[in-house]
Symmetry: C2
Subunit: 469 residues, 2 copies
């Protein structure tokens, strides 16, 4: 419980109307995309870095858990207040402070919505590549905390590759700046990259400096349908082996296509076993040639059909298919165990075969799609929530999936992070020495473990007193 | 002093002939490119990670300072054994373990020479962009520890951008793996990037996993001569503002050209005030167009002459000029205070003006050249070593240079690191809170401060008992 005195201080720092202990407000900030729910004691919305610093100083003094929150679109519970305490919503800090066209650099506050930022820079002929599926809602602060990815990462890299500086508040309330607006800088440790993907456990992000690129002149999208999943998986490797790196290289397996046929009216050859969406970008005159090279490379791999978009509208038609996947899956009415494993690209065919075996073994449909170009597949294990046996099997299937992934030199998460969802499996991937090293670091920087406690590390995770069933 | 018992144990770990306390060997490992000199007590050359781990465990137990060393080409003293103790040479661990053409990933040991590695991957049609000037000698382990840069970084990024995984030994002797061979991965803290550029103070690198790119099909080099320095500096900004990012964008000021005329027989218009070497790369048919666009963008900025290379030999002629700079400067017989400041690109003209003022104020020639494309200029303050007044003035000029750089939003080091050379100035750039945060991190991970002590942080730096005058 948080004392009335502390609540009063929080009101002085944020303004009364930005601090709430009302049940309705607390419920609003109790869940995220995992649909798990933990009730905080108080929700605060600071206006600026100074307020964040004062709040952290207070929380450090009173040992109050603090959970920074962007838009709550995370898939692993990064924003969930698993030990109660305080949710710190960053939505008031939502200004684009600068877009410097001379230096291709932008400065933003953490609450800026990713998609809004992309539109703002594209209007100036610039380009911010990271494009998580949630970009219309997700915040840049959340993207940085989780190191978000997206389809374009195969060519352009992930969020971290664009973050060149930060202003943060530490767990003890200090405001520090890391990196800067220069393209290079090697003075002191690279805290910028350490904070990216640290899932809000090391610092509260209050300002972000992002590198931008010139916007590619044009792009060309194609949908390629394969007779079997193996051909599509091999095509991914074949394209890269040819030293072509498309802007996106998205994959849908046969079950994904079935699901799209059933619930989204997709028309596609009956024999379709998988499909790829491939997009190339760059100079206009260059794209036709590259498209042709790709089609040549993959033609012997069981291609049933290819649709090359010649207009923006035709391209949008293809992307509509990709965007329809998640809503389609939802319509099946099943519980979805959504994992984002990543393997070296060349291991994709073998990974897909192993996933099929897991599906057979546990008698559960598994729907695979996602960023095949960088080996990052969204594996959706589907189970009937009302069927305890299926739900238990799904848990076993998740563990089997992680073990198979790691056996192929992969990682349990390409872009979603660990949070609370993968924390119990952490020691499958990281050695005890690695975990100890990370915990030593966390402990030194957050001695009272008040900043986003209960995330990443399995021990911290054991008691989750706040969970609402 | 290190006891005979410890020396015996080191000999058991490395083999007798790879452990030496002989004065001649110790002198060999007492200096680097800073030409400062500190004598170690012992020099060891471990064969593998297991040996490194055993050495670190021993050193941790006996509180012996350990100084990992690549090829000793650093400009800030990163490899210097400033507190005596042990130099750990990594040259035996020099195997390229794997070049995976399907996944565009390589695995190497830290002692592999950068240039050798580049040749090996280029023979397979692949590309490892970071190209520090020392690449024929420098090791990849040293490059990672210092986060080396080079001319191509303007388009391709620095060493860190290619390191996706590491095996390291911690100061307490644990072997841990970070990252991996996948293109994405967000499980746990990003220790990979934390170790890159940490100047060997947090971990000894024993294996490196590097991302590769397809090798660009072709490149085109041009030399553009300007009547004045301001035009060249403005040209850099103008090119980027036009959303063209050349593969390299190197700058030479008038004094650099004078020096090349005097000592390297460079022929260039009398009125030349500065020059740029611009290289574009990519698809062959694309390059002429891009070259033309660049020449159009900069034509009004005082261009006296441009030479566009049409053959490999003509391109090499241009690069010969760039490579002649350092030897030319040496021929002047003056002490060179070589700094590698970096400012936002658009601030280059102003930065150059401020450097000219500093040159006037302290009555010392300052020669500027380097990676203007990313705002990273090598500033060489020249002084007569025999003239105490000049040498003192040079020290003042260095500080004035750093202050001017920081005033323009820059950093004291784009690629050389802090080491011992910039440690006294650290608090000009980083706040006391930032420094404290970094030291807290260092202390938690290296409680006895045995791994490369005396680097980066000014306090540690105060007594340098080993320095040989």
């Amino acid at each position: 419980m948080i004392s009335e005195k502390v609540i009063q201080e929080l009101k002085e720092i944020c303004g009364s109307k930005f601090v709430s202990c009302e049940k309705t407000d607390r419920v609003l900030y109790s869940y995220d995309a995992t649909r798990k729910q933990f009730l905080p004691d108080v929700v605060v919305h600071p206006a600026d870095a100074q307020a964040v610093s004062r709040i952290m100083t207070l929380a450090h003094h009173h040992r109050i858990p603090v959970y920074p929150r962007g838009s709550g679109t995370g898939f692993t519970g990064g924003a969930l207040p698993v030990h109660g305490g305080m949710v710190m919503g960053m939505s008031r800090m939502n200004r684009i402070l600068d877009i410097d066209q001379e230096n291709l650099v932008a400065v933003v506050e953490p609450g800026v919505v990713t998609g809004d930022f992309q539109k703002a820079v594209e209007a100036l002929g610039l380009f911010y590549p990271p494009d998580p599926a949630s970009l219309k809602v997700s915040s840049l602060g959340g993207n940085v905390a989780e190191c978000a990815g997206g389809p374009r990462c195969v060519k352009y890299g992930v969020t971290k590759d664009y973050v060149i500086g930060l202003e943060v508040v530490t767990p003890t309330g200090d405001r520090i700046e890391t990196g800067g607006t220069t393209m290079k800088g090697v003075v002191g440790y690279d805290l910028t990259k350490l904070f990216c993907g640290s899932e809000g456990t090391l610092a509260v992000i209050t300002k972000i400096i992002l590198k931008l690129l010139p916007k590619p002149q044009a792009k060309k999208t194609m949908l390629v349908v394969f007779d079997a999943i193996d051909g599509a998986a091999k095509a991914v490797s074949a394209i890269i082996r040819e030293k072509i790196i498309p802007a996106t290289l998205e994959f849908m397996d046969g079950r994904t296509l079935d699901c799209l046929r059933q619930t989204a009216g997709l028309s596609m050859p009956e024999a379709a076993g998988a499909a790829l969406i491939i997009e190339v970008d760059g100079d206009r005159e260059f794209l036709d040639k590259q498209t042709q090279r790709i089609l040549t490379v993959i033609e012997s791999l069981g291609v049933l059909e290819n649709r090359v978009a010649n207009t923006f509208e035709e391209s949008e038609e293809i992307w509509k298919i990709r965007r329809a996947i998640s809503p389609s899956l939802k319509k099946l009415g099943l519980e979805k165990f959504n994992e984002d494993i990543c393997v070296p690209r060349s291991r994709l065919p073998e990974m897909i075969r192993r996933i099929e075996k897991i599906s057979d073994q546990y008698n559960l449909p598994i729907v695979n799609f996602g960023h095949a170009g960088d080996g990052n597949i969204h594996v959706n294990i589907m189970a009937d929530k009302a069927d305890a046996k299926q739900m238990a099997n799904a848990e076993h299937a998740v563990e089997a999936l992680f073990r198979a992934t790691l056996a192929l030199g992969g990682t349990m998460s390409g872009e979603h992070g660990v949070g609370i969802m993968k924390a119990p499996y952490l020691s499958l991937e990281l050695s005890s020495q690695s975990i100890l090293y990370m915990k030593t670091l966390k402990k030194a920087l957050d001695p009272h473990n008040i900043l986003n406690p209960g995330k990443i590390f399995p021990d911290d995770d054991a008691p989750l007193p706040g969970e609402m069933k």
